[in-house]
Amino acid sequence: QFSHRQRLKAAVHYTVGCLCMEVALEKQVQFSKQTIAAISEVTFRQCENFAKDLEMFARHAKRSTITTEDVKLLARRSNSLLKYITEKNEEIAQ
């Protein structure tokens, strides 16, 4: 279980590094390795929070499957983020 979790973390870390590199290129600013590590850790932990919330939302709706409606609920506190997620969802659906 530890190994599986570390594998996931490593994959997230790698992906975070790639995404930061994109921003770095676009903005002509560098990121230190430690910054990338910290952003990666924030992301991984936030995913755990999201997972817990999503499970609860689905359970509250008496479903055993998490749906996109549950994901939209996650974004409820920000209108702009909710709008973004909804549009992305529609793109994917199409």
Binding site: L19, V23, A24, K27, V29, Q30, F31, S32, T35, T43
Partner: protein, 32 residues
């Protein structure tokens, strides 16, 4: 992730730096 990076960049630029280090990230963490 992109949001964290973007905020880090804004902070670095505000401090006239070419690099986002943990000091800059720390400053944007509360709002993030």
């Amino acid at each position: 992730v992109v949001e964290a990076a973007a905020r880090g960049v804004c902070q670095a630029q505000a401090e006239d730096l070419d690099i986002v280090d943990v000091d800059q990230l720390e400053k944007v963490l509360p709002q993030l």
